[in-house]
């Protein structure tokens, strides 16, 4: 692969996102002696600190430094990247809320192929990458062929590639600000206003040792009572997956996942939760996971320690009764 490989590095409050080192691993899967150029946007001393950290892992670091980038705005950064990136490069970007905002449009502007949410790379041959993706909420996987002859923008699913912590690169930091800013800032069209912090709920599930978590399989709001009954019997708190919050049956503060809370319980009961990667991304600290789901193919069974293939509406009351019996 003759093409240059770039990785767009995300950072927040001076801390480099885990996905930075994951992208080095991903690039290495394409070519074992590839050198990867990190591209980082931000502002001032915080950006300089981040660049220094990143330079220990990447062969080169391109920085774009401007006050207006203190909070990253995809609409502002996309035209900058379009100016500095070579047309035929391979650009890796984390598949999260910023990457999803910026990357599809970048592929159009660079006239590059767009490969979204790659979870693995299998091979590269004749100018084509053979990658693995998931469809239908992770129920099935696919191999896709991505023609990279005119460049490619590829988003990488966070957590899919193991971080490369070798830190062997020690690259130069190159200031690309002037080139990126040619023609000025595109700050007109979309203006960042503020971050509205998540509301604090009545229960802080990030502090719970035992979580009974409920998903779409509960079917009806009235059925939630049985979940609270089980949680009470176990001495657990109730959390949930996204559809329950979308339906407004439970408050957002109880949602586990990348767009909800990151939880670290000792025991996690997943009831009627299919197990999307966004949900599993909220589960840290290697808890003992019990999954109950009527679909034996639900992805949650891959993440669980113990599984029960049953309808939660039938199973949960039985389990609650038994625990209450034991406790007398």
């Amino acid at each position: 692969m003759a093409q240059q490989v770039f990785a767009y590095v995300i950072h927040k409050n001076g801390v480099v996102d885990d996905t930075a080192l994951e992208m080095i691993t991903a690039a290495g899967r394409l070519n074992s002696d590839v050198s990867v150029t990190a591209v980082i946007a931000g502002s001032g001393a915080e950006l300089d600190g981040v660049c220094k950290v990143v330079a220990s892992s990447f062969s080169e670091v391109w920085k774009i430094d401007n006050e207006a980038l203190a909070y990253i705005n995809a609409e502002m950064i996309r035209p900058m990247l379009t100016r500095i990136l070579p047309k035929e490069g391979i650009v890796l970007i984390p598949h999260e809320h910023f990457g999803m905002d910026m990357a599809p449009g970048l592929s159009v502007k660079l006239d590059a192929a767009y490969l979204p949410d790659a979870v693995d790379f299998e091979s590269i041959e004749d100018g084509k990458i053979k990658a693995v993706r998931e469809e239908y909420g992770g129920q099935v996987s696919t191999h896709v062929l991505c023609d990279i002859s005119q460049g490619a923008v590829i988003t990488i699913r966070p957590g899919s590639f193991k971080a490369d912590e070798s830190k062997s690169a020690g690259g130069n930091i190159v200031d690309k600000t002037a080139e990126a800013m040619e023609g000025g800032l595109s700050e007109g069209v979309r203006r960042f206003l503020e971050i509205v912090e998540a509301e604090v709920g009545d229960v802080d599930i990030t502090k719970s040792d035992i979580l009974v978590s409920v998903g779409r399989g509960i079917e009806d709001e009235d059925n939630l009572e049985m979940v609270f009954d089980l949680a009470k019997a176990m001495g657990a708190d109730v959390s949930c997956s996204r559809p329950i919050v979308d339906a407004k049956w439970l408050e957002k503060s109880r949602q586990v996942g990348t767009s909800g809370k990151i939880v670290k319980p000792k025991v996690y009961m997943a009831l009627g939760i299919s197990g999307s990667f966004q949900h599993l991304g909220g589960l840290k600290g290697a808890p003992f996971v019990v999954a109950v789901n009527k679909n034996p193919k639900a992805p949650i069974f891959q993440a669980a320690d113990v599984g029960v293939v049953d309808d939660i509406l039938d199973f949960v009351p039985e389990l609650t009764d038994r625990i209450n019996e034991i406790k007398g």
Binding site: H97, V108, Y114, V144, I195, S259, Q302, F315
Partner: protein
Amino acid sequence: MEILVCVKRVPDTSENEIEVNRDGTDIERDDLVYSVNEWDNYAVEEAIQIRDKVGGNVTVVTVGEEEDEEVVRREMAMGADSGVLLSDDAFNGSDGKGIAAVLKAEVEKGKYDLILTGAQSDKGAGQVGGMLAAMLDWPYASLVNLLEVIDDKKIIVGREIAGGNQEMNEIDLPCVLSIQTGINEPRYVGIRGIRKVASLEIPVHTSGDLGIAADAVGESGARIKRLDYFVPDPGEGAEILEGSTDEIVDKLVELLKAKGGIK
């Protein structure tokens, strides 16, 4: 406000277990229940609410074949004013960019202030909205879970970011937004509503109508091609508890006690 909502007919994953077919060329299509992509349904609801507040029209569009028309009709039953099906053999095998190029051609035939898509669909790519915006040179915001119209020049959008936080932006019209689930509560569509729109004519626009060069879309223009479907090696996976419900409950209670799952 003139609003276009891009929708897609997809297998309903809450109604179906998705399985790979025998030779791995597709998912098993027999007996699949289809519906409108969940994210798109929130987008249509949002468009209808905006129209009811500030006036204007909601148009629903899909790229597909004859059977895909049913989701356009369903969203019209929900309250969209008109619908259009973009259909041509030349569109078959398009990748995300091909679909975005077809939609762009349709957008340019109208005079829209706002285009909504779902944040993602069955394939989990989340790409068409962002591509369409870039092709039109319109501003874009993804994962929108709050939308407030300021005036006919600008709106405020909240984007869903990590940790349940929300990123607020002001964005100029016209723009493209991808809508996240949970932004509203989509209204129920009953049989009566479906019946009311059953006989409406839904126009079909072909590549000729849209002035699209055949090699720009479809399989020849696609730089992403799916080779197969497969079920990944299950790896370790969960230990599935077997037996009668009583036996399973017994085993599970023991395990939970051992792991500190019962206080």
